[in-house]
């Protein structure tokens, strides 16, 4: 019985897979995604492994796909995320598409060389519970997992869900004709409901609610449906205590904790790319000048190149006298801003996408967490957006864009329904279809996957990379030698983001010498720290050594890779 079921499942999945594979004309549901992942690790066993990090409350696996060669954990790592916010189904497709594209290209000389230098960690979907709502019989934009929560904190769980009143399988809006109503039809587009503007002499004639009934009779509609906690509200940066979908405390969910544990354990990861609602590729983050900020103090506290902090303590502790408020980093630091600008320019150039989406940074989101609390270069983009103008209604702008681009399946026309809460009032259901404003029509997927793949590959090539320059031995006579060299970062990215420099969860590079025979250091230490190196920056070191023989020199950290060389003192 079990076997036959499995076969049935595989056959079914196979059918779905082959359909998807021939042309990327639909979004992948959970089962298809899992099948694609298995196929990738089956087809490229030498380059690609996948493992499950956690099982969500909804019983779905959160998978990480590792793509690389050789000693994967000791090379600069690049983490790529889909499903940052569960309603952004596109993210899953782009992350998965990246994995499959790079593996397909893995025989090309460009990708072969890249995989020799860096390791990719692809998380196709970190919100798999939420994403399934896109494929369910009842569709609504869902961002939370399947954990039981009391979203409106009225001590009842999930007592007021949506109802599909017009039976179209979609949750849109309802509007109730009522002279006391506060909404009216927009002048720009009659389909869109906008709050009546008293200052323009308007009065409303509709109430507008989400589609459903007020099950618990608290005058609020659908405020406590099934679920849950959102991955993209559950992280520590700017976390909102007891916020909606935020969880009871930061990192409360099994999948959040598992993903973060993986990231914190992988000190080699130096950059994260997220496909989700947050954006710093359309419009890069901007540094703001603040007096007494961590931005200036972090730099002044750093000891000179090669030196340890005077007290033997961590740089962090050197700042103990500052208050916590002053140590907080809340806007991008100057040298990271330069890189963000560069990467954003490349994004426009490579993908051809214009403008920027509306900026949204809800509390506890991933993009900001990854930069401010994880201390890594962090990039995020919705990857697809419609042009919106400041102070213009976004729904009107979207419908205009949809009309221009022949997206004809994005609106449910207002039609009259019967509503138990409003027996005597004209009630209509309608509005923009769920998911339509965040996810493009599936026929765009192929192009989007290809463009975003090319972008990440181009940025990956800018990874930090160390080399020794000007390795020089001077024979000073009397069996004394001066050894000098430079450690050069030939990459474009710094060895570590500037924000990460003060963060415990990034590594500090070391340079160490292995002497032979009875060699002794007359000047310089056996092991020294290498402070953060910007792209194309070098650090110089020299030692005075007594005694002939070979010396092995090792430099770096996991996030830059280790380099070694040997010299002979003779």
């Amino acid at each position: 019985m079990k076997i036959s079921l499995k076969i049935l499942f595989l056959t079914f999945a196979g059918v779905v897979w082959s359909v998807c594979c021939t042309a990327q004309d639909r979004y992948s549901d959970y089962r298809t995604m899992m099948q694609k992942i298995n196929t990738l690790s089956g087809d490229y066993p030498a380059l690609c492994t996948s493992r499950s990090l956690a099982k969500t409350a909804g019983g779905k696996e959160v998978i990480v796909i590792t793509i690389g060669t050789g000693d994967k954990e000791n090379k600069p790592g690049i983490a790529i995320f889909g499903g940052i916010e569960g309603s952004h189904i596109l993210g899953r497709e782009l992350a998965l598409g990246f994995a499959s594209s790079i593996l397909k290209e893995s025989e090309s000389s460009e990708i072969k060389a890249l995989l020799g230098k860096v390791t990719f960690y692809v998380f196709p979907d970190v919100s798999p519970d939420a994403a399934e709502q896109f494929f369910a019989g009842l569709k609504y934009e869902r961002i939370f997992n399947s954990a039981q929560t009391d979203d409106d904190r009225d001590f009842l769980n999930e007592e007021d869900p949506f109802e599909d009143l017009n039976s179209d399988g979609l949750i849109t809006l309802i509007r109730v004709s009522d002279p006391a109503g506060t909404y009216s039809e927009s002048d720009e587009d009659k389909r869109v409901m906008v709050p009546a503007d008293l200052s323009k002499g308007q009065t409303g004639s509709f109430f507008v609610y989400s589609e459903g009934i007020d099950n618990d009779k608290d005058q609020k509609f659908n405020e406590d449906g099934p679920g849950g906690v959102s991955f993209n509200r559950n992280l520590t940066y700017n976390y909102e205590e007891f916020g909606i979908n935020a969880g009871l405390y930061p990192v409360s969910e099994v999948e959040t904790k598992a993903v973060l544990d993986f990231l914190f354990d992988h000190f080699n990861i130096y950059v994260t790319f997220a496909f989700g609602p947050q954006d710093n590729l359309g419009q890069p983050m901007r540094a703001t000048e603040r007096s007494g900020s961590a931005q200036t103090s972090a730099q002044t506290q750093m000891p000179a190149q090669g030196q340890f902090p005077p007290t033997g303590q961590m740089p962090v502790q050197g700042q103990m006298r500052m208050t916590g408020q002053q140590r907080k980093i809340t806007s991008i630091l100057n040298s990271d801003e330069v890189i963000n600008k560069l990467v954003s320019d490349k994004y426009h150039e490579i993908t051809g996408i214009k403008g920027a989406p509306a900026s949204r940074t809800p509390p506890g989101n991933f993009m900001e967490w990854s930069y401010f609390h994880y201390g890594r270069y962090s990039f995020s983009t919705p990857a697809w957006w419609f042009p919106a103008e400041r102070d213009k209604n976004a729904e009107v702008a979207f419908l205009k864009y949809a009309d221009e681009n022949k997206m004809d399946d994005v609106f449910v026309p207002w039609t009259e329904i019967k509503h138990p809460d409003f027996p005597d009032k004209k009630t209509e259901a309608g509005g923009i279809k769920p998911f339509a404003t965040i996810n493009p029509p599936a026929e765009k997927l192929g192009e989007l996957v290809s463009n975003n793949y090319k972008f990440i590959v181009a940025i990956a090539a800018m990874h930090p990379e160390l080399e020794f320059l000007d390795v020089n031995v001077e024979n000073k006579g009397d069996n004394i030698y001066r050894l000098s060299l430079k450690v050069h970062n030939k990459g474009i990215f710094a060895t570590c983001s500037e924000a990460g420099e003060v963060n415990m969860w990034t590594r500090i590079m070391r340079i160490s010498l292995e002497t032979s025979g009875s060699q002794k250091f007359l000047s310089g230490q056996k092991t020294q720290r290498i402070q953060r190196l910007e792209g194309d920056q070098s650090a110089e070191f020299s030692w005075l050594i007594n005694g002939k023989g070979s010396i092995k020199i090792t430099a770096g950290a996991v996030n830059t890779g280790m380099i070694t060389t040997s010299v002979e003192l003779k």
């Binding site: 976390y239 205590e241 930061p250 990192v251 962090v316 415990m504």
Partner: protein
């Protein structure tokens, strides 16, 4: 060989256990005021307990007082030890998990070990006084104590058997960020289970030996010649990176690991990856989330002689403090400063320093509890004097130099001939034996006071009146007879606990309302579920008047159920 030893030890423990609970011959002594004269569990409070000793005492209390004590485990520490939790309450007088409860934990910071003795003493005292004292007897009928003597057992063992541990538990951390974990800690070079100071003879050094007490090193005046240089803590460069003791065991701070106002390591030194990174704190969190009846908490630390209150950040973080809550916290805290001689009430951010992600803030902000953290022991206690706080003199006159490790010559692999010595780990921040019981009693009494002030709800003035239309008008008053409200400001702001529910049973309830002014008939009707009135909060000493209009019924019961205020009911004749 080992097995035989173990059996021997076990049988000795068994012997001690059986003899320990039997009590003593009552003709040999008579009772001193306020202490149990002949406790069922014999315990002395002039020494420190190992983890095994704590376990043993907890078990003895549970077996000697089955009607009062339940011993459980919150979960496992990083190294796999059970984190004990004692639930103490008169079980016959009601389910302990439904009574207003007070939480006590000790030893969150590894070297701050005497919090465990304070917690254990409180548990022992409550149990042993239950039959001897009317106040304690009634308290345990009304209230529950959840007591976790050590929430950091791994580091406690390290303290007892190895040396002074880090501030934290023993979860490895790469303090020097070189990719190796805990590879260069302090080293007990002379094997005395203490990490002491190192000094070296050096004519250019800045220290000389004090002629009045040669144990003491004093810094020379400018221009004066020195004899010694101080070389820091006992240790060698284990990993050969040119630094001493830069990456010892652990390194995070268990008290910067809580899910409220949390900030990462570069803002708040000691923070780990995210809140509740530590298994010990996860275990406490999970227990507390299931025990919403906890109204107040005490987390014992050392030192400084302070009763600490929040907020821990200037102006507070996300948590709420109302004027009313402030008044309650100050009133209780001031009483603590009176009860515990030499201690003062201190607001963390203002009088000490800023703390992000502290346990106290989570209790207050995240759980809606009234919480204090006592910093045990201060130098005043030595001579009951704030002016004379000379540790050397105290050690000489009262401890007979028991807490000082005499300077001893050793050969250090880098420094050559050095001397190792100084005060032992048992002095400076820890109570000497003879003072431990005194301070334990005062701190226990403060916890008992806290618990007493948790809400106690009573129903009075239950009356029935026939209305003109033949209906019944039922009125009742709900009173909180103690200082602490059923809901703190944070609790109300975040809706942490449900409101207090007042049920009316008997007859069909047509309407229910709270009465603001009975004479003028000013009321607020509750339109939904009038048979279960919802009261947002019952403040300390507040009276809430309720009125129902009921059809039918002859005998009426009014019941109040409050998560933090306990339960009460009244019935008409």
């Amino acid at each position: 060989m080992k097995k035989i030893q173990l059996t021997c030890i076990l049988s000795i423990i068994l012997l001690v256990l059986t003899s320990g609970v039997s009590g003593q011959d009552e003709s040999l002594f008579f009772k001193a005021a306020g202490s149990p004269a002949n406790p069922k569990v014999q315990a002395s409070w002039n020494k420190y307990y190992t983890y095994a000793g704590i376990t043993d005492l907890c078990k003895k209390l549970a077996s000697a007082h089955p009607g009062l004590v339940t011993l459980g485990s919150l979960g496992k520490s990083y190294q796999g030890r059970d984190i004990h939790i004692l639930t103490i309450s008169d079980k016959k007088a009601g389910n302990p998990d439904l009574k207003p409860a007070f939480w006590i934990d000790g030893n969150i910071h590894s070297s701050e070990i005497q919090g465990s003795e304070m917690a254990l003493y409180t548990a022992w005292y409550l149990c042993e006084m239950y039959d001897n004292n009317a106040f304690i007897n009634q308290l345990l009928k009304d209230k529950t104590f959840y007591i976790a003597p050590t929430i950091n057992p791994d580091a406690r063992e390290y303290f007892a058997y190895v040396g002074v541990p880090p501030r934290s538990g023993l979860m490895p951390l790469d303090n020097d960020r070189d990719g190796k974990f805990d590879e260069d800690g302090n080293d007990d070079m002379n094997g005395d289970k203490n990490i002491s100071q190192m000094r070296r003879k050096n004519p250019d050094g800045e220290y000389i030996v004090d002629r009045k007490d040669p144990r003491r090193m004093i810094r020379v005046e400018p221009g004066e010649k020195g004899e010694y240089e101080m070389l820091g803590m006992e240790g060698i460069d284990n990993d050969g990176d040119g630094m001493f003791n830069e990456d010892g065991p652990g390194g995070h701070d268990g008290n910067r690991d809580w899910g409220f106002n949390w900030e990462p390591n570069y803002v708040q030194s000691g923070a780990h990856k995210y809140p509740f990174s530590q298994p010990e704190n996860q275990a406490i969190r999970d227990f507390v989330l299931k025990h919403r009846n906890i109204t107040g908490a005490q987390s014992f630390h050392n030192s400084g002689g302070m009763v600490l209150r929040g907020p821990s950040i200037q102006g507070g973080g996300a948590e709420a403090y109302s004027r009313a809550d402030d008044a309650v916290i100050n009133a209780i805290g001031e009483k603590g400063a009176l009860m515990i001689a030499g201690y003062r009430l201190v607001t963390i951010w203002r009088d000490m320093y800023t703390v992000y992600g502290g346990e106290l803030d989570w209790w207050h902000g995240g759980m809606g509890c009234f919480v204090f953290s006592n910093e045990l022991w201060n130098s005043y206690l030595m001579f009951y004097d704030t002016a004379n706080t000379d540790s050397y003199e105290f050690d000489r006159l009262l401890l007979f130099e028991d807490s000082f490790i005499p300077w001893q010559t050793m050969t250090h692999p880098v420094y050559g001939e050095v001397e190792i010595g100084g005060f032992s780990k048992m002095f400076g921040r820890l109570h000497p034996g003879f003072m431990l019981e005194t301070d334990a009693h005062r701190n226990a009494a403060f916890c008992i006071y806290n618990s007493y002030q948790s809400p106690k709800l009573e129903i009075t003035n239950l009356k029935v009146r026939k209305t003109e239309g033949g209906l019944n008008e039922v009125t009742a008053t709900i009173i909180n007879t103690r200082m602490i409200p059923t809901h703190s400001a944070s609790n109300l702001r975040y809706r942490i606990d449900p409101p207090d529910y007042v049920y009316l049973e008997g007859g069909k309830v047509l309407a229910g309302m709270t009465v603001q002014n009975a004479d003028l008939n000013i009321t607020t009707e509750q339109k939904k579920n009038p048979e279960r009135m919802e009261i947002e909060n019952i403040s300390g000493y507040q009276h809430i008047n309720l009125k129902w209009i009921v059809k039918g019924g002859s005998k009426f019961t009014v019941r109040v159920e409050s998560v933090k205020g306990g339960r009460a009911s009244a019935q008409t004749e």
